[in-house]
Symmetry: D2
Subunit: 392 residues, 4 copies
């Protein structure tokens, strides 16, 4: 019998320090592990330290996933020379401070979406990332749905020109966990902490997905925000005002002229986690639904009276990321996007190329979100300049 060190087959390693230990902390932890279990990244991710205000919670995560240690102060991560990347999984109101500090401390950064709670914060983050890029640092935002293999195939098909001129983009992110008036008040219904409701939490995904797959940016919006249940009871039994939207609906224009229509809602009874995107072009269409995430629907009008939406099971070895996984037809799930994200980030760092979405990309999404809020407040159309310079 012969024992081995785990990273024997790879060339180097990267120490990871993660901030946050809840749902997203678990998703990211398995992502880092998955990247080394199922792929051979050029840098071997080492799960070094988890930072969390609640030591017991952080310790429990560390125990389950094999993180080397825990701390209650995220700034400890920046004084540990063994940590090359800071992975930020905390609520959005803390992202700017941690990300900017980490970048200024010379660390690569991965930050969960939404990038920030305000455009101002996002602009400062993007500026910090731009300065850090000059020093060779990488900064990326975690819109993991880009890394679903079926979404990658959709992007590739559009990029090949298979849809022709894009005419119409419809996107929905449908959940239903607030349908019940008796569902409790949590931080997610508090504007101070959450920034916005369905709009920022899931509408951000719909916007990023639509822009990523279409390759086009939104240039103006007209939106509506709705809070169907104005007051909810918190865990202590106290009635609290709901200060965020539970439904956001907005019309858009894309830079190439396409019309867009979006709905993001926590009020779509019976729809648990349905992120749907359909792009209609002159030559064809693609359709995707996260509730059936291994599938891409493709229509090719050149097939004439035998055309129709074709259900592609995106699980062949030739599909992106699939060579690391199982035989055709063996489904991937929600968590695999985090593994692919970790892999892409490790590859990017090794190659010195910043993977998309960059902080600048995510700032663009943030500006769309803000424009929807402005539009809803002013009951008017609002132009969006996603590429506006930031001089922070």
């Amino acid at each position: 019998m012969q024992h081995s060190s785990p990273q024997a087959t790879v060339s180097g390693s990267l120490g990871i320090g993660m901030v946050g230990y809840a749902f997203m902390g678990r998703a990211h932890s398995q992502g880092w592990l998955g990247a080394r279990e199922f792929f051979s990244p050029p840098l071997w991710p080492q799960l070094r330290t988890v930072a969390g205000r609640n030591r017991a919670g952080a310790q429990e995560l560390a125990d389950h996933f094999g993180w080397g240690g825990v701390t209650t102060d995220w700034q400890d991560l920046l004084s540990d020379d063994g940590i090359g990347l800071v992975d930020i999984c905390t609520p959005g109101d803390t992202h700017a401070e941690i990300a900017i500090a980490a970048l200024e401390a010379g660390r690569h950064v991965l930050v969960e979406k939404p990038m920030a709670n305000t455009v101002a914060e996002a602009e400062r983050m993007a500026a910090a990332a731009e300065r850090a890029a000059a020093r060779g640092q990488i900064a990326m935002v975690g819109f993991t749905y880009r890394r679903v293999p079926a979404v990658q195939l959709a992007r590739q098909i559009v990029a090949e020109g298979k849809l022709g001129t894009i005419r119409l983009i419809r996107a929905e992110y449908l959940q239903d966990w607030l349908v019940d008036s008796a569902a409790p008040f949590t931080w997610r219904s508090d504007r101070e902490l959450a920034g916005s409701g369905a709009l920022g939490d899931i509408g951000a995904h719909a916007i990023d997905l639509a822009q990523f797959v279409s390759g086009e940016l939104i240039t103006e919006v007209s939106g509506l925000l709705d809070t169907a249940v104005a007051t909810r009871t918190d865990a202590e039994g106290v009635a609290q005002e709901v200060t965020v939207d539970d439904t956001a609906a907005f019309l858009t224009r894309f830079q190439g002229g396409a019309v867009g229509n979006f709905t993001a809602t926590r009020m779509a009874t019976g729809r648990k986690n349905s992120l749907r995107l359909e792009i209609s072009g002159e030559l064809g269409a693609i359709s995707f639904d996260l509730e059936d995430l291994n599938v891409l629907q493709l229509q090719d009008t050149s097939e004439g009276d035998r055309a129709g939406f074709r259900r592609i099971d995106v699980t062949e070895p030739s599909h992106r990321y699939l060579s690391g996984w199982w035989p055709p037809g063996h489904a991937l799930g929600y968590q695999h996007g985090f593994t692919h994200q970790a892999l892409d980030l490790l590859n990017g760092i090794a190659a010195g190329e910043n993977p998309r979405p960059t902080f600048a990309d995510a700032l663009g999404v943030q500006r769309v979100l803000q424009s929807v809020e402005d539009s809803a407040r002013d009951r008017s159309w609002v132009a969006v300049d996603q590429l506006a310079r930031t001089d922070n």
Copy 2:
């Protein structure tokens, strides 16, 4: 062997005069015949005369469906005492004149949707219908999708309160026959003749369906109209400007507070005739798609962790209209809605009760359509008072 007169088993008859002999003329003709073939209406519809400007076209329709005669002047129908109902299947710009004349001549009237090309016309028609009602005449508009059995079941479920408070209404009418830039210019792309494009042609159906099933009226709208292909070539090879929308998208509020989001388009590549409606309520949801018209999807949240959208095959004898048709699971199609419409109208005339949608109902839809146009032009929200008095 014994010969019989066809209406032997029914109590009376109603002479029908129809104006128009194209697509809608055929649909209505089979509707009248179907009502007497598959049901036992209290009034036996007699296909008496078809009026059409093109005698050969009208004659061909008459030959195929057994209409008793043809005329090139619709006013002949009003001088024939044997005609009790005028059925108007012509383009929208002629509806007001014919309908008002027929009502003033004492005839019952059925008019195809859209009721008219302008709100002003619709208001005059509604006023005429109101006056005629006082004389016992019936006037109805042909939103036939109300008469799909699955739609009737949806309405019934909502009316029973099974969905609870309605939170969200999403409706789409998706077609793709203008996706190809080379598709020819026809009257449907000409504002003078068609009034509007996707909005009035199919958006009207989406609006009527959403209001009918939810039982709630739209109170304000914010919309966008788009013409993706600005110029098309007509049958003579002449380039013509497209003066109507090919996509209409609009956000709405309903009177009960629900948010609405609508898309009506001829640019949804690969979608041939998909009229979709999903209504999300606190206790459940219903979902319908005209491309699978025998099915209603129903979700009941009280089923807890065993809840889910249930695919109801609406072909049981106990479902509305089904007693006249085939055994369970034997599909009905597009045309059956016209049969049910004819049946409901015959029943209504016999009972002296005006079936919905009345001219007043359709005027409401017309006001929504106009408001969407106003909103798109002014890039603002527009209030809709569907119940506004008309003093024409």
Copy 3:
């Protein structure tokens, strides 16, 4: 105003005499009418006489559909020179006598499926048809599902060789109207009247469809027949023994070597009328379900890692029979197959060409059915020679 005779635009006419006035009588009546309403057949079908043992029932049908007269004796039809075709819609035990008499009386014949209750009857019918063919008469059996446009497209795709060598054919006909043990005893559960149960009633459709679309005949079978509920109560409250199968399952070989697997059942809870066929070939596959009858699923393996089942909406004008109907995406239903059947038969008679399925084709199906019964009884494989000579 000018009145016209209904057949003015066609060249000749054909008098129809129909035997039977129940479910199938209605389906055939609308089929004859539909053929002349929506198409321009070379022979104009005249609905001359309905024969039925119950005069009131026959009269009611005649009134609804405009049959010229009724009789209680089907032999009256053979003495009426105005009747050129006898359409047989009675239960299967009467088919042979009526069909043979009609053929010998010089009439064209359409007979509902199942062609007969026994192979011996079917052989006599096929022999009579063969003799009649020599006199220019046409004889056809009513497997109407062949005339669903999506099925026609499936056949065409296979005939073009698009699937390559066929490897596997799976067919199911699933209904559930006998799931309830308390469902009443009717003639359909009585072997004397019905011949067999699910096997002959719906299994016959599955066999014909599989053979028609694949273009291959079944050469051997191994089957099982099951009666899950042995006793049911009839309308008089008397317990009766169920003497037919309610589930038939059978494995087959096709002449080209493909494996077949069939299930026909009235015990498939929740499946109302689902006739499913999937044919798997080396180059592609087709899949069809009668519960979604306007759709054909097509898979083309040459599309590599972008292959997938493509949902073709078979409602384009270029699809068979569709030029007579509605615009793309406007669904046809169950009954339209009967219209297409009437049309094909009228075309065949005018052209002097016997449309498929001929009596010889249907005899082949009957032999498969009998072989399944033999196999189930003997618990062994049974060879089927569908092309065996008949010397009756």
Copy 4:
């Protein structure tokens, strides 16, 4: 900062020795890791040693998943006192030898399906497991599809009696990787190594699933085995005879009287990994498809004319295994069944209770497989006594 030992929060640990390092080795490795990452098993699985004839291959697996060491001799595992469980992931022809040796050496055993290549081997294994059980050892077979949450829910619904008397069970396992005649010859097409083809490889899953969910055993079978492509070319370019089936189809009876119909095939063009099960009962039905593995379809006839197959998204925290994973609607994939299997086995070992499927359960499946082979060879029905005593 404070470092922790990974198993700090659990009470004990269990050393795992795994034999095999290919596809199944990876699936099991992530299963063991997943059990400790996402759950809190009473025993902490330690990935101690991988045994594989090819050291480099074993070492690569060990590096990726963090196994402590490798060996080329599986018997080394039995001399390591730190190994409490032997996990067998090798081809079926080696299972009996390894499993029996491990049981006799006092180790718990997990063996991948198919349990063995012959009934004789399986009987010896079951006897060894019975002897080991008396010593408190656990032995389990890896039919992981039992551990898909939707399958667990299906089993629970049947066990609650919600379907009533079961009438019909239809199961299919559809793959298409041998459709292409040019697909290469591999060990899976060699009877010596693989035992059988589609039958044992995937038919075994269909049998186990149908029996597990229905709670009923198969009592007799009539089957057909087919090899559509008789010769294939191996990696060296040599033509080799295919000595196993690529399609197995069989009819069955279940102990409670239900009829069964099964197809397992590698020739279902376009179907990548579709394991389908539908169980039809007097009161309801369930339907499952592995290509949509987070969903269970449920029909409840008591809902009358509002009944229909209900699409349950089996991702609620209350569903089995889900408390360890993500929020509702966040899909699990293929690999999660291996995690659940590892968890159940760890729980079983800690509790001293042998989880199902036991070696005796899997021996029953093996007997069904053998009976299908016998039936196909003899072209006759074959009785199966799954509970027959084994006196090895």
